[in-house]
Amino acid sequence: MLLAVNMDPGLSSHTMASLEQLAGESFAVVTYDQRGTSRSSEPSGGYELLKYVADLEAVRQAVGAERVHLFGHCWGGLVAVLNLPVLFLWGADDPFGLETAQATRDAFSAAQVEFVVIEECGYLWQECPDDFFSHVRAFLDHAPAD
């Protein structure tokens, strides 16, 4: 199962819709609207980062998966960062530049970070070449979950 957390917490999970192409008979893709966004309700407890992490855990439990693959885009990666191993995909044309990518990668600190730079790819992975999905599929194949 792939559990996806979208960029910019103010956006809905529709930005992750094209991940459905990774789904199959034995592999589910799960997305959700983050707190206070789109079809999810307004939270009574605010918007601290750890609440987003708790929401992610609540979704994991609700879908009944003991272990999942997490897919985080930008902010979504921050929400998912406590979980390893990590496939770190970075578009070579991303306006923040490779130095930012390397600093972010180092923030993962320890083990099991696979870092890949994708050519002809910018900030929006949805507009990247199919090469993007090849890396995701390969990662899913060698790091199985439920």
Binding site: S13, Y32, D33, S40, P43, G45, D55, V59, A62
Partner: protein
């Protein structure tokens, strides 16, 4: 039969074939509400 008619028939067959293929490949989806600590999440 006239060539125009044959072309029309061929286009019809291709269109119906693609539509059937699209339906066969469609992945089932469902939506649920998840109650988290202080918020209801749309999944």
């Amino acid at each position: 039969m006239k060539p125009g008619f044959l072309i029309l028939m061929a286009m019809l067959v291709i269109t119906l074939g693609l539509a059937a293929c699209g339906q066969a490949m469609e992945v089932p989806t469902r939506e649920v509400k998840v109650q988290a600590d202080d918020v209801t999440l749309h999944v």
